[in-house]
Symmetry: C2
């Protein structure tokens, strides 16, 4: 395990990393005199993805970093001026853009919070232009890390207490996605990652010893193993499947200690683990471990654990870093309140199958259900009228961070504790009946009723 | 369409963005006196992914950028020294790492080249440590962009000449993945993207007008439409489904020109397009266009086109930017030659179902098949013994770029021309019989035979 490093977030030019229509709308709001309107947007999913009974929220730290550093450079603005979409836009808009920073409020659930359909991951209340511009980046940041944290939680759960290490950077959706997938996987419960940059930037524990090319670069497997043992001592893990797994296991056993263990990377992992365990035990290496890798996912791990395969650590790559069975999350970012001067409106969308509930909201969590309520409500939904936890908290006020965000290990612990409180139906790897009730508070229901009737058309 | 901007690649700290085992192996090679060995690695897929009959290579420009800028910072090296995996590593290794740059050779197929199982996207010949360290980043870069370029080629093909615009950043695997997905989608044949950063960095055409929040921010849909028309003139696209699509279409028609067209984003797109087309035509707006968006993919577009839906432009987001039906590519990076002093070895891996062919290779493409040959061969595989195209070309020699890489629009054109030469079976959206033959040259077969017999064990 590595020592936590100081956070070392790279500063990518991110202001232009948004859909162009956010910028044309910003220009339109500016030209229409709406620049001082205050908008409230919420980020949520309408439905849980395929085979998911919860979503584990993640990515808030990167969202905050983005908001704190939001700034258009002169080159970026010069580029925008060349686009035909801004042909009719006055230069005052670009002057405004050059000075634009995020000055709004951000409310959000903690990283590691399990959420359900309709519950906001975060709420932005800001001048309309700022709130609009940040839509795309926030969706991609929160949506992706939450997707991976959720997948990791499933994989870790399936491993029944065995360690799971994230190994997926090489198959992630770009190297940077690999770094962030590893971060999210750690929040979701993984023990660490193979990605060194994630260790460096976020203090996540890093793991890794040697691959097939190490073995192949020596004239014999034995020579490769001997050299590795000299290099790594107690951290030595022999990858034993380059030529023949059983032969590899016997060679590993013959070298004795120092040794952490061996890694299986192909073939029938359950059967091989039994045979390799026997070889190690017979050589007196009962404390040596077996790590298994190779196209694993939560379903295969559940099967291996059900068969009591003697595997101590799982390394999970492609399927974890891409959430292969549910590779995207239908996150949306919807306008729920609009304040212009002293007037306040609750816009709603009536598109087919895409209705939204109006107004800024709070999520109250009781022992066995949630209540989605208006943000202004304080409701008692616990047993015997006890108050219950309000999940959305202020994170930024007027563009300033309210307090430091939790350390990543703290978010990981919070996720684990929160998941442990969910019922078995939520934690099943397979979708069942809605396993967690989300009620609508009476006040929110009243607002929705009144707004729907008078919806703009 | 935007003017191409100058490439503006951000320089992320990338040297540590690699699996830790690449670094432990590097330390091991150094300690074992193998630092001056020269290794040849190839990057390829063993099998095509589900429902894919080709892979369109993409991402080479970012791979080259990475190699040209590879450098460890003092802070990164200090971090590595804290890890237990380097406890037994001598300080000379870290001194070497501080001065390490990529000094090797890179051979690669052009971006936009269709490839098949076993064919190398790129070949690296470099000092062993350099060649090893870059594995993870190259896999993630080439694997991801090739995945998306391939998906885009399928979607564009299904649209039968209608424009397809990439809209997926908000659902991509991180904001940076969104930028690169849009780049790859353009190479795969998309007309452009909604991602402004991709336009700024790579000169890809950008598109976008307004979303639901624009409509909802006005007291009425009509007011929102009027304002948009003032803002955008001939670029005006009304999003007409916020409240009621047919009402929205009538409002749009009532405002007349200037107008580019309308956008449908929910409901039955085929039926709505017919009805909306009639409304526009009856208002004399025959030249106004209909754009359709909303959970589209190549299969739904093929169905819409088969039904002759009057849709002029498709906007495709989530499924394109995540390649949802095949979200990863099993790219591997394998050691195929190793030179130590005057000796040369051809390592092979014999793991279950993971055999590799030895030696550096060239791909020769004839009119109806490929030949995978040794890199040293020059073979005539065209009709009547004519020579055929060698797809791998030198890109970097001794760490230096041989010539400028093609402009991205050139790669897009090359992809289109290359795909047009493939048989219908390759271009089907559905997997069939192996649609393209890849032969092994006699010399490569001989080498494989002799190496397999004498494989190290």
């Amino acid at each position: 395990m590595s020592d936590p490093a100081e956070p070392n977030e790279p500063k990518l030019g991110a202001a232009l990393n948004t859909d162009l229509y956010e910028l044309t709308m910003a220009a339109g709001y500016f030209e229409a005199g709406k620049a001082d309107n205050r908008a409230t947007f919420e980020l949520f999913v309408r439905r849980l993805p395929w085979n998911r009974n919860f979503i584990l929220a993640a990515g808030l730290a990167q969202a905050v970093d983005y908001l704190q550093n939001l700034k258009f450079t002169a080159a970026e603005i010069a580029y925008l001026k060349t686009l035909p979409q801004f042909e009719h836009t006055h230069s005052e808009f670009f002057d405004m853009l050059a000075g634009l920073r995020f000055t709004g409020d951000l409310f959000a659930v903690r990283e590691g919070t399990p959420l359900f359909a309709g519950e906001p991951f975060l709420t932005v209340r800001a001048p309309l232009i700022e709130a609009q511009l940040i839509e795309t980046y926030l969706l991609a940041t929160i949506g992706f890390q939450s997707t991976i944290a959720t997948k990791a939680a499933r994989v870790v759960r399936a491993a029944l207490g065995r360690d799971v290490v994230e190994f997926g950077t090489r198959r992630a959706h770009s190297p940077e996605a690999g770094v962030l997938a590893a971060r999210a996987a750690y929040i979701g419960g993984c023990t660490g990652t193979s990605n060194s940059e994630t260790g460096f930037r976020y203090g996540v524990p890093v793991f890794g010893t040697a691959g097939h090319s190490w073995v192949m670069s020596f004239p014999s497997e034995l020579a490769a193993f001997e050299r590795l043992q000299q290099l790594l001592g107690d951290s030595t893990v022999y990858l034993i499947d380059t030529y023949d797994t059983m032969e590899g296991a016997r060679r590993a056993a013959s070298l004795g200690r120092p040794l952490w263990g061996v890694r299986l990377d192909s073939g029938n992992l359950g059967e091989l683990a039994v045979a390799v365990r026997r070889i190690l035990d017979e050589a007196g290496l009962r404390d040596s471990k077996i790590m298994a890798t190779g196209d694993l996912n939560e379903y295969k791990i559940q099967e291996l654990m059900a068969a009591r395969a003697p595997i101590d650590v799982f390394g999970v790559g492609t399927e974890l870093a891409t959430s292969a069975d549910a590779p995207s999350l239908g996150v949306v970012y919807k306008l729920v309140e609009l304040e212009a001067g002293s007037s306040r409106r609750y816009p709603v969308k009536l598109s087919h199958d895409k209705q939204t509930l109006p107004g800024a909201k709070q999520i109250f969590r009781a022992a066995d259900h949630d209540v989605l309520a208006r943000a202004s409500e304080c409701i008692a939904c616990g047993q015997n009228g006890a108050s219950c936890e309000a999940l959305q908290r202020p994170v930024m006020i007027a563009g300033q961070l309210v307090e430091s965000l939790p350390a990543i290990a703290e978010s990981r612990r919070y996720a684990s504790e929160s998941l442990n409180r969910l019922p078995a139906g939520c934690l099943s790897l397979f979708a069942g009946e809605p396993a967690w009730r989300v009620d609508i508070s009476p006040e929110l229901a009243v607002l929705n009723e009144s707004v729907s009737k008078g919806a703009a058309v």
